[in-house]
Amino acid sequence: MANPILQVENLQICVRKKPGVLILRGVSFHVNAGETLAIVGESGCGKSMTSLAIMGLLPDAVEKLSGTIRFKGRELPIADNRAMRKVRAAEIGMVFQEPMAALDPLYPVGKQVLEVIEEHEKLPREMAWARVIDLLTKVDLPNPETLAWSYPHKLSGGQLQRVVIAMALACNPDVLIADEPTTALDVTVQAQIMRLLKRLQRDTGVAIVLITHNLGLVAHTADRVMVMYAGNKAEEAPTRDLFLSPRHPYTRGLLDATPNPERASAQGGVLREIPGTVPSIADPMSGCRFAPRCGNASELCRARFPEPTIEGAHGYACHHPGTDARV
């Protein structure tokens, strides 16, 4: 059943020309075709950098140090902008956090969707335009023919995010990366957008990588969850396993901070912070990076980095994992 379409292996990302300042410290994970993988973790832990790396869109100040990213078995040349252009949107689509700033203010929204199709497929213009209208209809926008000619400033945040989703899915990619797609929207619109994404996933079979701070959202939508901490993967498990028997103390802290994930979104839905602060990306500490904030920390933790332990579909990187199941 497991059919990895996207595989990230030992990805290390550092600040350009500073191999000691690591933003990602060797992250490995995979995404199966058609599934939803959620990535959660505190602000600054490297979620966005992971997704930008996959798209080959790392900022100029940052570079890949080592590791591979495989899509459908072949390695993505993420430093080669020209080659990556053929991958972007055509095979991997991306949706960003700020819909209000995501579109060029000077072009009608339909034209901006059209631009994706024109870039990747040789279609007669009328057919491409018909596809734009079809896409706008599929993302539940009202009066698509008229709306296609509206400029971004005339649309609401929710409508704009639908346009961005239409853009990301215009060429039927196999993977959609959604980096906090609903954070900037108000609660009712958030739910609509998530329902839309799930429906589109059912219709097209696209795999979704959902980056979020909202554990309630994760519980509802994700098949598997990856928890990141300070540039490392802390834990990875099927959603149910993760919520019922979290092993990594950081994951447990996250869940404890959100007593009932089922109701998390109603409570405001944002991860509450665990006491203490995340170590700086320039800090060369050799042991577990969570040690300064961890209740289980020992000398071993401070001295040696915990190698990942894998138990079936459940993996974690910790010397002293918690075992008690949560109720």
């Binding site: 798209m55 869109l57 902008n81 990556m84 252009r85 053929k86 991958v87 972007r88 949107a89 055509a90 689509g93 991306m94 960003f96 700020e98 700033a101 995501a102 579109l103 060029d104 203010p105 000077l106 009608p108 339909g110 631009e115 994706v116 870039e119 990747h120 213009r125 009328e126 335009w129 008229t146 296609a148 000619w149 400029y151 400033h153 961005v164 853009m167 990301a168």
Partner: protein, 330 residues
């Protein structure tokens, strides 16, 4: 696929025309009092300094300006004459002032148009290049040259160009708008005028070129850091398309506004450029009027130039609204 047409902003136009008329009125009043500021009787200021101190002329001016009337009716008469374009007669040039000015307008507009085109295109090309290589050597060279040009006296750069390109290299004529003795017609005449136009247009554009380079560079850097550029990259479109279709169009918007506000400065600069290059336009006329102390002609040029600036600003605002759909003209 048919775009939705926007309605023409008639209300905006009406409002701006009304405001323009009011502005012209105030400018006329300012001019009127400027004339009153002149030492001695205005008629003598107008005529006496013209060197012709002819009593008949002075009497005529006095009647024409209604200088024997009370101040307010003088002002009224002044405004009415301006409104009807009855700007009086220039004894220095033996011609009606309105005819004089309008016959010189095309040459000035041609020079100004060419200078604006050079400054805008140059500003975009070099500004975009500087932004693409931000903080690397092409950027540093362009930015420093722009800074140098920004401080260069425009008339001096004109003289230096004459020295280098006309006198030393002999590539272009030194002055004038065309070779009158050649009696060129048709296409030959166009080529001849263009040949004469190159240096003055370049000289006049230099200062603005410097400003526009800095503006486009800053604009490009700002736009390239915006979210929608990253989203556009994520769509897989090429860097070229990204630069020219998305970034540049957004970065050039402020340039349009600035060009609009510079129209008046271009006209003012024409006095220098046209004097240096003996270009037969309004600027050169203004120099001659000043030289001959033809105050009435001077003031008339000032008023008409202001009028031209007001019209140009209106056109630029309409244009801006066309290229920037987020602007609502109200």
């Amino acid at each position: 696929m048919k775009p939705i047409r926007r309605r023409f902003p008639w209300a905006f136009l009406a409002k701006r025309v009304a405001y323009g008329a009011l502005a012209m009125l105030v400018i006329a009043i300012i001019n009127f009092f400027l004339l009153k500021l002149a030492p001695g009787d205005a008629a003598e200021a107008l005529a006496g300094q013209a060197g012709t101190a002819d009593p008949v002329y002075i009497a005529q001016l006095r009647a024409q300006f209604g200088l024997d009337q009370p101040l307010l009716s003088q002002l009224w008469a002044f405004v009415v004459r301006l409104a009807t374009l009855d700007l009086g007669y220039s004894y220095v040039f033996n011609e009606r002032v309105s005819v004089l000015i309008f016959s010189r307008m095309p040459a000035t507009l041609m020079l100004m148009g060419a200078a604006i085109v050079i400054a805008v295109i140059g500003g975009i090309v070099f500004g975009v290049t500087a932004a693409r290589y931000a903080n690397r050597w092409p950027d540093r060279v362009i930015s420093f040259v722009a800074l140098l040009l920004y401080g260069t006296p425009p008339y001096w750069i004109g003289l230096m160009m004459i020295l280098i390109f006309a006198v030393t290299l002999g590539w272009t004529p030194t002055s004038g708008m065309e070779n009158v003795l050649a009696f060129n017609t048709g296409w030959d005449r166009v080529v001849d005028i263009a040949h004469h136009l190159i240096l003055p247009a370049l000289a006049q554009s230099i200062f603005y070129l410097a400003i526009y380079i800095r503006l486009v560079r800053a604009g490009m850097l700002e736009v390239l850091s915006l979210d929608f550029i990253r989203v556009a990259r994520a769509k897989g479109i090429s860097e070229r398309r990204l630069s020219y279709r998305h970034a540049l169009r957004n970065a050039v918007l402020p340039l349009v506004t600035v060009v609009g506000t510079n129209v008046g400065n271009f006209l003012g600069g024409a006095v220098l450029t046209e004097t240096v290059f003996s270009w037969p336009g309004v600027g050169r006329l203004m120099f001659d009027a000043m030289f001959q102390r033809d105050l009435n002609l001077l003031l008339s040029i000032l008023v008409l130039s202001s009028f031209f600036v007001i019209v140009a600003n209106l056109v630029v605002d309409l244009l801006y609204a066309i290229i920037n759909p987020t602007v609502e003209l109200k």
